[in-house]
Symmetry: D2
Subunit: 185 residues, 4 copies
Amino acid sequence: MTSSDDLGGAFTDTSTAWLSPETLESISAQVPLVYVDALPVRVDERGVVTHVGLLLRVASDGSISRQLVSGRVLFNERIRDALIRHLEKDLGPVALPRIPPEPTPFTIVEYFPDEFVSGFVDPRHHAVSLAYVVPVFGDCTPTQEALDLAWFTPEEAVSDRVRGEMTGGQDRLIRLALAHVGVLP
Amino acid sequence: MTSSDDLGGAFTDTSTAWLSPETLESISAQVPLVYVDALPVRVDERGVVTHVGLLLRVASDGSISRQLVSGRVLFNERIRDALIRHLEKDLGPVALPRIPPEPTPFTIVEYFPDEFVSGFVDPRHHAVSLAYVVPVFGDCTPTQEALDLAWFTPEEAVSDRVRGEMTGGQDRLIRLALAHVGVLP
Amino acid sequence: MTSSDDLGGAFTDTSTAWLSPETLESISAQVPLVYVDALPVRVDERGVVTHVGLLLRVASDGSISRQLVSGRVLFNERIRDALIRHLEKDLGPVALPRIPPEPTPFTIVEYFPDEFVSGFVDPRHHAVSLAYVVPVFGDCTPTQEALDLAWFTPEEAVSDRVRGEMTGGQDRLIRLALAHVGVLP
Amino acid sequence: MTSSDDLGGAFTDTSTAWLSPETLESISAQVPLVYVDALPVRVDERGVVTHVGLLLRVASDGSISRQLVSGRVLFNERIRDALIRHLEKDLGPVALPRIPPEPTPFTIVEYFPDEFVSGFVDPRHHAVSLAYVVPVFGDCTPTQEALDLAWFTPEEAVSDRVRGEMTGGQDRLIRLALAHVGVLP
């Protein structure tokens, strides 16, 4: 049980959105959950992505692996507020993320416990995740459960070494993100 | 209780996905639901949208109004299967919809009971909906709860008359769709 | 003849890209030109577009009208450099535009002298323009040929009054941009 | 000199659009040209891309290599008409391509003679190309300069073998396309 679930968005009332692990487990056995994924990136003055930030943390399958920022959208929470909340939770309060003006994610990720359904795996539940690339301009310090935050060039991010540190399709999601911003090697 | 909820997708096991109204009501008071919206369109041989199809049906607020095809994504159901299921449910089995190859929706619609949160309203629950424009090439016959299906040119679809027949932000969603395909008047 | 045409991008050699009006006129009678359109916007801390910036200037048809930032892509110039060059030319050197990380424009605008081809008109030539929404964070001061720069809310930007001050399909392009960022009223 | 250049689109007058090689060479030394790239794909009944079609032809650098459908947009020609013209020219008259309803390409490709500018190379000129994924439903027979047309699964298309048969960044463009439609391995 993490304390992050009870941090509501600034603009909607999510005060009743916190759920006990038992309640969430019961719900997630019956409906898909709404998630967001965010790939924090550094951009140069022309907007070109130069680095992507990956967290080192305990994955949902128990392994230690490189991951994007990810988390659940709460009841009554706007997508933008969920993005900001999870980015602040994982990167600290002065990361200065710039949420894109358009609401459209760069892709939709469908996570299933069964690895053969979509290639994106979450052993805990079926989740539909809206995935965004989010430029950050401030200082990022891994917080809470994250063990580390490291920045990689696009070439490093798709290297065998870094891909070997990711599970559940996270390496593939990063390639989709790099392709969207035109810097997939 | 509609019979549509227990029609599973072809590629995933949604046999346990049907939920009683009481259970769904309880869940939807605690988490946002995953929905899809689809605007059926006719295109010419160059791919240009010439007409949009709107259903006449009883809206979630009880009024009779023009609507897009819309519905819930079931537990263990892929987004594509949910789209096909709802399109077949509302347009009949020979509508021949062509689901786009890209998984990215043209926009994300956040429905809330409170009309002042996002401008998109569903009095029943908080839903996050992935919205797609779907060309259909076969015969469309309104089925189940739909009273009628009518085709409108882009000019007609944004006219005061047709907009006056829509509620809950559906008229705005159609303008976003028409803009995406470049034919917003 | 403006001096802006010979300002090259930082990363490519466009030193030979300046063309005399006669040469450009001859070329533009034979091939479509590559253009960029940029709608400068103000966003709030959650990334939501709150205002759009429109220039008041002499349009290509001789009228004084509200316009987006727009201009030609030079020989050997990258799209990003063309965007920055035209934004600086029209908004001044401290507008601090943030070019989006993705290279994909929100729409493609096809300008023709004939107003009935696409609805987007440029009496001088056939141009294919890549259109972007660009958040700006600094001070904007209209420069060169622009008579004024004014900021409008989305509601004001689509009002009859402001639409009446635009020609050549610019009002429609703004509606497409507002739809893309989810704030079309 | 190919005969394809004087086939005009159905809706605009491109009768004067044919240019002699000398004229085109002179123009392309002074302005970027407008191009389209199209990746023909086969999709299943749910819209998932199962195969991509690649032409075997003499590349602009003189080598024989696998390529997408590609070509110039003529003066007074609409983008959609250019796409159809080039698809018919390369895949034959009964390929039955379905041009997407949205005008937005999945990416913008900037071709330069210098391979170090963008990674996309055309030794003949600077071109700005709008790139589309186009499902085709009919019989495809390579025509004109194409030596062969072969269909590859996404896994095959990104294999070292097939990538080794491509030059000028075409292999990277295919990965960007596969990422856009969610099937990049």
